[in-house]
Subunit: 192 residues, 2 copies
């Protein structure tokens, strides 16, 4: 096998952002999407991965000839968690959960992610959020344009009813819990 | 600002691969490409990022309400280091350096990366390596098909002369050190 180069000096230049201790918000949906991605990959449908969590490595040590990280901190995301290719098109998205019954608060999305999604759309990619309304047990594909429209209006959330009326619902599949590429087909490929 | 969810449990399921201590092989080229990517982003030419280094977090602690990683190890890559969008197309690549004057040894590329690049090409993306021959101070864009051809022949390297004769040279730009998207234009968009 291959000897990897020492990656310690590959730290990104991002400024560290401290993370609050909070519940594992987002974990359930992420697990569901990761399983969907495994299914898509194994069945040659799409190649979509979750990016590794961005960290800043502060201290390393050697343990029997291998580098071990002794101190690192979480960084603010500069992009979204997921990207990949489907039917020759570039896909880019993040997965978000909310307990709200009335709207999705845009405070859940880092400004870097909002800017990133807009850029991706401008360059011809499909850029969206996958939003899980836990109170309704419904997951929607929300195109980034809807975020931009709300921001232009000065509104810091997207009403649940607006999402329900205008965004494709992600249906449970027989083989996967959230077959979100079917929603991509509806939204971007006009397939029903 | 946003309170991030606690990301400790977002660890990937990859099995850890121990890393050898070795020189910072690959660092120079990576820095050059990261600077190119910043330039492409800031000038609205393309959106291409280096993925964070994949790590497995083993132990965390709290420091004044923030999560700090106390132990983590490096993981084998399941994909390449770079991906993004350019002219509406999905790009996926890795950056490699070699001191060899005769060939690029395929042992420098993890098997996961070779499989990944082939998948990307099958799904309609542009998948390649950017290879820096340090002895000649030359950087080439090498499409993944050339790797597959060598592997089919049972050859575990790509001869320098084959690369020189068939792959676009990445030229130094006035504004950026390695204007690799010009080589992408040549190779995939037939622009000269």
């Amino acid at each position: 096998m291959i000897n990897y180069p020492n990656k310690i000096k590959q730290e990104t230049k991002k400024t560290p952002t401290k993370l609050n201790i909070s519940s594992n918000r987002g974990m359930l949906l992420e697990n569901i999407i990761n399983i969907s991605n495994d299914y898509y990959l194994n069945n040659n449908i799409a190649v979509i991965y979750k990016k590794p969590t961005p960290l800043k490595i502060l201290k390393t040590t050697k343990e029997s000839h291998y580098q071990v990280i002794e101190k690192a901190i979480f960084l603010a995301p500069s992009t979204t968690d997921y990207n990949g290719i489907y039917k020759g098109k570039y896909l880019d998205f993040d997965a978000k959960e909310t307990n709200s019954t009335t709207s999705f608060p845009l405070g859940n999305v880092h400004i870097n992610q909002i800017v990133h999604l807009q850029r991706i759309a401008e360059h011809g990619g499909f850029a969206f959020l996958i939003i899980f309304f836990k109170a309704y047990n419904e997951i929607y594909l929300v195109d980034q344009s809807l975020i931009q429209e709300q921001i232009k209006k000065g509104i810091k959330s997207i009403p649940y009813l607006l999402i329900k009326q205008t965004c494709p619902l992600i249906e449970q599949g027989f083989l996967i819990q959230a077959d979100y590429l079917k929603a991509v087909d509806k939204k971007y490929f006009n397939l029903h």
